[in-house]
Symmetry: C2
Subunit: 280 residues, 2 copies
């Protein structure tokens, strides 16, 4: 598939359109998937979203490790680091600054929830324009709201970046204002878990707090990096339940994901925060 992927207004802004492969399905250039694929029928699959810089996917090994782990938990055949790395290099080549999405589904299968014997997974790699967030968001911070839509609790799915994303879609539809950059979500018990597209950190007295993701939420790559860096420089981290009360006591708040890196939150509902030293 060449160029056809981005119709309309965007194409004029993307210098590399028309020169690159934009999508690979099981290693072949294509933009169509069989309807019988269980990814379409049931959201029976996983995905990764990677930043691409200078034509190279960022933190590729970490993303592939998470994908392998997710495939293992859902008993989906993992395509292998080698094939995914090689296809990622192929599709990112010449893309400069972009987004790489990697999807792995359980593959084609019959009607019905039962997993077919000998299911062969489907892999889809696609290149997308990088959203152009203002540089401000990293330096001056963003505004976030509390979403009314909540996250269901399911320890079998918690932590995974799976393809069942209606909860995030409903939450993201709660605001339209460009003044708001993220919505924070609670689980059905009222614990604050994450943003619609990001993980959440609170800073209090020089320590980090981040929600426990063993019952819902997505365990992000940048979140795990922040945890590793904190450990390596001796910053205490508490992974546990976070309620709305904890925002009262917090000195700084920030959110993370693979495309934005770290965004300080300067306003969340009735709370305001400075961009603090730890977030920086």
């Amino acid at each position: 598939m060449r160029a056809r992927g981005f119709a309309g207004g965007i194409s004029g802004e993307i210098p590399w359109l028309g020169q690159l492969i934009l999508m690979l399905i099981n290693g072949h250039e294509s933009e169509q998937i069989p309807v019988s694929d269980r990814g379409f029928q049931y959201g029976d699959g996983l995905f990764e979203t990677l930043a691409v810089e200078h034509g190279e996917p960022v933190f590729l090994i970490r993303h592939l490790d998470r994908l392998r782990h997710g495939c293992k938990r859902l008993a989906i055949e993992f395509p292998g680091h080698d094939v995914l790395s090689s296809e990622a290099s192929r599709i990112c080549k010449g893309a400069g600054r972009a987004v790489l999405k990697i999807i792995v589904t359980r593959g084609p299968g019959g009607r019905g929830f039962q997993i077919p014997e000998k299911a062969r997974s489907t892999r889809v790699l696609s290149i997308h324009p990088r959203p152009d967030f203002p540089v401000d968001f990293q330096s001056a911070g963003i505004r976030a709201i509390l979403c009314r839509n909540r996250l269901g609790i399911n320890s079998s799915l918690a932590g995974l970046k799976h393809m069942n994303r209606l909860e995030q879609i409903l939450a993201r539809s709660e605001w339209d204002s460009p003044r708001i950059q993220e919505g924070l979500m609670q689980d059905s018990d009222g614990n604050v878990i994450e943003g619609t597209m990001s993980n959440l950190f609170l800073v209090r007295n020089g320590s980090l707090q981040t929600p426990d993701l063993s019952r819902s939420g997505v365990a992000g790559i940048i979140r795990s990096l922040v945890l590793e860096i904190a450990a390596s420089i001796g910053i205490a981290v508490e992974i546990g339940r976070i309620g709305l009360d904890d925002f009262e006591a917090a000195d700084e708040v920030f959110v993370t994901n693979s495309l934005i890196g770290v965004w300080p939150v300067v306003e969340f509902e009735r709370f305001t925060y400075a961009v603090g030293p730890l977030t920086r």
Copy 2:
């Protein structure tokens, strides 16, 4: 698309294969969907599964009404009763006894959870072989287990037959024995909600009990029919929370869906039941 839809062993058993349309995507014969469709990306859509008898979809109007209601709740463009009825007739013609699946997704859209402006929904109608359940199951009943996998609680999605079905897939993977026909699922609070593919009824002292589906579960078409029939013949129905204790006190238990109709449950974990008069 003709015949290619069912590869392998099944084709020999389906007399109408090779003569029929098996799939319509937005009215065109096709079996491929764009990867960019939000149904594939996020499970952002709804579906209906209908029995087809003598080439006619059963309870079509009820299924389309539920689909319209679901589209409204998720703010997905409903394709309309007329176009869906007409395509259902077209695809069911000559299919005899079969299964019709109708999928409506939010349609193609960009990367990211935000709903694109002017999203145009995608509709997929497909014909499948009817699973051949033994006639016994209706007369002599089935065995069910309690699944370890639970249903998340989300009132925005409760009742809808949406395309986020990983919870059911994980639950259905808990048993492999042909002696077991269904698994009952609890929500994350421990309330028993439904089977992996069916709704649940308990009979006690001549009254019906069925779980409240305002926090999780799928509000099935046969369930709503049972409720209407019960009301019309003066059988009391209690829609509420059902715990495992209620199975101790129950006289009869049955499950319902559009393909099976009503299956009495004669064994569920440590409980056994007769096929009672009300179930019959």
